[in-house]
Every structure is written in C-alpha cells, then in structure tokens.
C-alpha cells in the first residue's frame, strides 16, 4: 500500500507519526503535556488537514467549514444517546452525515467561485448556526447544548446488556476509555491516518487535478475537463474531515453546542491553515497546534506569573513591561494571535512552513544539485 509514496514521503510520514505519538513527552517542557490539550491539538489538526485539502489544493476559500464541525458533533452525541456509547458508530455516522450535507452545500456553492463562493459558504454556515439556536432546538437543545443524560435510550448498549453504571456513562472504544492518555492515543492514530490520507491525495493524479483547478481553472475547462466535479469531491472530502473532527470533539467531551458552528470558528480554521502554510502537508497541523497552544497556555498566564518572570528587572522597568506584556497574554491571547497572523501574512505569506524553510536555507545553504546545475547550464 505504501509503495506509491516516494521515499521522502515515507520518511515524512514516519517522522510525523513518531512526533505525534511522542507528543506527551515532547510537549511536557512547554506545559502542554496533558491529554486534554493534546487531544485538542489532534482534533483541530484533523480539521485543518481537511480544510487544507479544499483551500490549499483548489484555492476555494470556504468561510463555512464550522457548520460541518457542528453537524459532526451533533450526530455523534445523538449516536451516544440513541445507540451506544461506543465511539465507532458515532464517528462513522458523523462522517456519513457530514458528507451528505457537504455534497448538498458544495453542489450549490461551487456554482460560483472567488469571493462569491466564500460568501455562499458563509451564508450556509450562518443559516445552520441561526437555525440550531432557534427552530432546531428539539434536535440541538439550543443554547444549553446537547448533552448526555442518565436515562438516554442507548438501544444497542441495552441490547447487549452493557451494565449501566451510576451517573452518566462515558464514551469508549470497545472498552477503551476515551479520556486521559488512551483517548489521546485514539485521536493521535486518527490524526496520523488523516495525515496519510491527505498525503496520498496530494500526491495522487486527483491531487494534481485539484492543483490545476487552483492555478488555472479556465485553461482546464478548455481542455474539456469538468472542474466542478473535482472541486466538489475536494469539498466533500474536506467536509468529511471536519465531520470527523466534530465527532472527535464530542467523543472526548460528549457535548455539542451551536457556538461550534459560528462563523468565527470557520475563521479559526482558516487562520490555522494560513498560519501553518497553505497547501503544505505539515503546515495545517502546526498551525492548529500553535493556535490551540496560544488559546490554552497563553490565556492562563496572569499578572502574578508575569511579575515572577520579570522579577530580575528593576522595579521602575518591571511595571511597564508587565503591563505591556500583559496585553498579549491571559484574556488578550487573541491579540497575540492577531499580531502573529498579521506579521505572517505581511512578511511570510507562505506561513510558518515557508518561514522555517527560508530559515533552513539561510542556515544550511543548499548544495547545488545536479538538476539545478543542469538548469543553470541551459541558460
């Protein structure tokens, strides 16, 4: 199965898997080595990888992907309520249902491109969000959010006579608990799988077609190719990833709220993808990690911690420094995100991946390869 990947890609996949699985150890020094946050890294990594298949490859900027995240979450929670606490049916059903919705929405939205496509996706996501808050309350439980209850149906569990403990049962994968490190490794395996799928798609002829859609759609049409079906397939695939991520959010914390579908959540995944590097394989995962890290770690810094960090400074300087830095941490973590994002867009439009590459090139100047020599000789 692996034989279609280039040697370099195999190493990349291997390295990626190694880093993800060793995540708890590697991130411990940064204060992020606990399963809850690691799970979030993985889940939003999946979300961003999926988004990148649409935006990175075809160039269609969707501002409505959060709708699929929300649909995935709601489906998963309903599966927990009605069928079983096992996560497998929840995940499968979520992905299928999001695929159906993505097919419908994508079919309509892809009739337009450019800014119009963005507005159309935004309109659909906002409709989903508004409806979830109002008319669909019987399904979504409105502002409270959909939660598990003790007397849920859980028909499959009952059929197999799974003992119902006191309190609300927790999610499991054939007995494997979905909280703590076992939950993290479950997410990690899915993340690696998603990464592998996205790699296969990027390297496949289909992936090349998607890139062709991005670079010149008209020319592709002139050669007699129906570009819309390619774009629609990419849209559905990336919708499925979003559904999977939404289901995973419900798996790790069985609760679904409409705020997951708000347009700012769609904006967040755009930020993740851009921050990491659009169209790169690793970029979106890195972007997701950075944003979730900022959200969880930066936001926990308070004045006390800052004061102890800057204790070495003389008092006269310490106070202004703490006040200034305080703007960027704690409640203001989003300011850091905004500034970081602005700086990246202005100076390194390729995101962190491009930044890393140019840094690498500066430190280790590339040796001229035979191919480059040949190219130079041709001039």
């Amino acid at each position: 199965m692996m034989n279609t990947l280039e040697k370099q890609d195999r190493w990349l996949l291997f390295g990626f898997a190694l880093v993800v699985l060793a995540g708890p150890l590697l991130l411990k020094p940064f204060g992020a080595g606990y399963p809850d946050l690691l799970q979030k890294f993985c889940i939003f990594g999946i979300f961003a990888i999926g988004y990148n298949i649409l935006f990175g490859l075809t160039g269609y900027l969707s501002f409505g992907h959060a709708a699929f995240l929300g649909i995935g979450s709601y489906t998963a929670v309903w599966s927990f309520k009605l069928l079983t606490m096992n996560v497998l049916p929840a995940i499968v059903l979520s992905v299928i249902l999001t695929a159906v919705f993505a097919l419908l929405i994508g079919y309509i939205c892809l009739r337009r491109s450019g800014i119009y496509f963005s507005i159309l996706t935004l309109a659909f996501a906002q409709m989903a969000y508004n409806l979830a808050y109002s008319v669909l309350t019987p399904i979504t439980n409105g502002e409270t959010g959909l939660q598990l209850a003790r007397d849920d149906l859980r028909s499959v569990d009952r059929l197999f006579g799974v003992a119902i403990q006191d309190g609300i049962p927790s999610t499991n994968f054939f007995g494997l608990s979905m909280v703590g490190y076992s939950g993290f490794y479950f997410c990690a395996v899915l993340l690696i799988l998603s990464f592998y799928i996205s790699m296969r798609i990027t390297r496949s002829p289909f992936g090349l077609m998607l890139k062709a859609v991005k670079s010149n759609q008209n020319r592709l049409k002139y050669t007699g190719i129906n570009t819309r079906s390619y774009a629609l397939t990419a849209f559905v695939i990336s919708g499925c990833f979003a559904g999977l991520a939404g289901a995973m959010l419900a798996v790790t914390d069985p609760l679904a709220g409409a705020d997951r579908m708000h347009w700012s959540a769609s904006g967040e995944v755009v930020l993740m993808t851009i921050l990491g590097g659009v169209g790169t394989l690793l970029g979106p995962v890195i972007g997701a990690g950075v944003i979730k890290y900022l959200e969880n770690i930066f936001s926990s810094f308070n004045e006390q911690i800052l004061n102890s960090v800057f204790d070495f400074l003389p008092d006269a300087i310490q106070h202004p420094v703490v006040t200034f830095v305080g703007l960027f941490v704690g409640e203001g973590w989003e300011l850091t995100l905004g500034v970081l994002f602005l700086v990246l867009i202005i100076f390194v439009p390729g995101g962190l991946m491009q930044g890393l590459q140019s840094l690498q090139r500066r430190i280790f100047p590339a040796r001229p390869t035979p191919a480059a020599d040949a190219a130079r000789g041709a001039h």
């Binding site: 800014i115 309109a123 906002q126 409709m127 409806l131 203001g332 300011l335 867009i345």
Partner: protein
C-alpha cells in the same frame, strides 16, 4: 396595517446601518479593488469613539452634596457640570452627536494610515491575501478595544431631547398605535444625509468626477497625469469615516462591545453581494431592503407560517441572488461576475 408599518420602521434603522457599512465597503472595493474585512472593526471603532467621548465628558470630581442640608456627603459630579452648571449637563447629554464631530477627523486619520501603511502593500497580492490581512487587522483592532474597554457592552445614552418615542402614527393620521423611538428616527435621517453627501460628493465635485473616472478605468486616468492613487487613499479615508460615524451614532441603539463590528460585517457582506459588487446605489438599496425584510420576517404571523425564517431570511436571499443573478441587483455587467 399598523403592524406592517411598524415593522417597516423597525427595519429602517438596521437597514441604515447596513447601508452605511455596505456603502463604505463598496467604495473601497470599487476604487481599490480590496475586499475589506476590517470594515466592521472600523464601525466598532467609531462606536468606541462615542464611548470615549462620553467618558471624557463625564470626568467627575467629588463635591459636597447640598441636596440634604446638614449632612456631610460627597457625590461625584462631572467637571462640566461644576463649571457650566445646567449648560454643562446639556453638553454631557449630547455626548453622541459631539462624538461624531470627533470621530470624523480621527477616522479619516485611521483610514489614511491604514491604507498607506498596510493595504497599499497588498494591491499586487491575491484576493485571498487581501481578505486575510484585513481579517487579521480586524482581530487586532477588536482585541485592542477589548483590552482597553473590557468585553461587556457599554451603554451610551441618547441625548435627553431624543429619548422616548415619536408618535408617528398620529402624524400620519393612522391612530396612536404606531410609535417609534426618536433616536432611531434621528439615525435614519442621519444616515440618509450621509449617503446623500457621499453621492453628492462623487457626483457634483471635480474630485468625485476624477474618482468615478478612476473606478471605470484607472490606467487612463493615470495616463492623463492625475495622481489617482492619492485620490483613492482619500476615498478610502472617506469610507472609513462613514463606517466610523455610523458606529458612533448607533451606540444608543445597541450598546457597543468589541464584537459588534464583526456581527455587522458578516451581514454587510451579504448586503454588498446582493446589491452588486462595486455598485454604490445597489449597496444602499439592498442595505435598506434586507433590513426591512429581516424585520418583516420576525413578525409573529410570518414566523408561524415558516418557522425559523427570521433567522435565515437574509442569507437565503443572498443564496438565491447569487445563484440566479451573480452580479447582484444593481451590479454592472462584468464586474466580478464569473
């Protein structure tokens, strides 16, 4: 009948805000070709100009309370009231209209700095990059405001003169059933005036003529020896001012918090698209149209007929328009039509 008329009125003030923001968005798009995602943040910035002016006018000092004789009590009294007495109190109550005067030069400055300092470097980049940089700027502006003013909405009262409601029904001989808050009426008149001013400026001045020519064919205008970029910078500034004053005047209707801009922006984009990208009359018309449609859809009778329609009507209209007539209601043929 009364109910329908009332909903029409209710739609007007929201429609006015949409129209003003959409007008600015369209001005920027038509001249510079940039889709400005920071426009909502500028609307919010205007709102917080009003908040700051109101706070500034209300700077207080401690004075002895003389209302209860014989008791040593200190109360807070604004400086203005201490110095000028009743006139001072009047001035304080007019904080919002005063803030508009402050907002205009301030937002002009913000606009020019923003265009020259940031947006200018993005003309040769892709549309996606332009959207993203303005989106990033919006986040930064929003978070700065949050860190200075906090996250809770700050109420800003309308001038005393305009508190309460106007009995419009009686004026029109429809019985006393229809009353409408004064300030909303003021807001509607104000926005109509601003829109008229912008159109007059573009239509009747030489500057406006050059700008319109530049919107049609930038290169030719440049070849005629006109520094079109400088004019466009000023147009950008004007668009920012329009958003700013729209935000400042809106504060008594909805207390501003740092997110108000984004909520308006999403709808304003829909407005612009429905009206037709690059068409100024289209933006204004569809702003009012969608505002009124939204308020009609929230009538109980309509809601009973189609549940949830009030939540989605605007987006639904946008979807239908985009699919059937992508250039929008009043869009010119061939502008952003693919």
């Amino acid at each position: 009948m009364d109910a329908i008329f009332l909903q029409l009125l209710n739609g007007l003030d929201k429609g006015s805000a949409y129209a003003l923001i959409a007008l600015g968005l369209t001005l920027i798009f038509g001249t510079l070709g940039v889709v400005n995602f920071a426009h909502g943040a500028l609307f919010m910035l205007g709102g917080f100009c009003a908040v700051s002016v109101q706070k500034l006018l209300n700077l207080s000092t401690q004075v002895k309370d003389e209302s209860i004789p014989g008791l040593e009590m200190m109360v807070d009294l604004p400086y203005l009231q201490v110095w000028l007495g009743e006139t001072g109190a009047q001035i304080i109550s007019f904080a919002v209209p005063i803030s508009v005067i402050v907002t205009i030069p301030l937002m002009l400055l913000v606009g020019v700095v923003m265009e020259r300092g940031l947006i200018r470097h993005f003309y040769h980049r892709t549309h996606a990059d332009q959207i993203l940089v303005t989106f990033g700027l919006a986040i930064v502006l929003q978070e700065l405001i949050k860190s200075f003013f906090g996250a809770t909405p700050i109420p800003v009262p309308a001038p005393q003169m305009f508190s309460g409601s106007a009995n419009i029904g009686e004026w029109l001989g429809m019985g006393g059933g229809v009353s409408y808050p004064w300030w909303r009426l003021v807001y509607f008149c104000f926005s109509t005036a601003v829109i008229a001013m912008v159109f007059a400026f573009l239509q009747f001045t030489t500057f406006g003529m050059v700008v319109r020519a530049g919107m049609r064919d930038r290169e030719t205008v440049g070849l005629l020896g006109i520094h079109i970029e400088r004019r466009f910078t000023i147009v950008f500034g004007i668009a920012v001012v329009v958003a700013g004053v729209a935000g400042a005047m809106y504060t008594p209707i909805v207390s501003p918090n740092y997110r108000i801009g984004m909520d308006f922006l999403v709808l304003s984009f829909v407005v612009v698209v429905v009206g037709g990208m690059g068409s100024l009359p289209g933006a204004v018309a569809s702003g009012f149209l969608l505002g009124i449609l939204q308020s009609f859809a929230s009538m109980n009778e309509v809601k009973q007929l189609i549940p949830g329609i009030d939540q989605v009507i605007v987006y639904l209209v946008a979807v239908v328009i985009l699919l059937t007539r992508p250039r929008g209601l009043l869009g010119r043929k061939g502008v952003m039509e693919d």
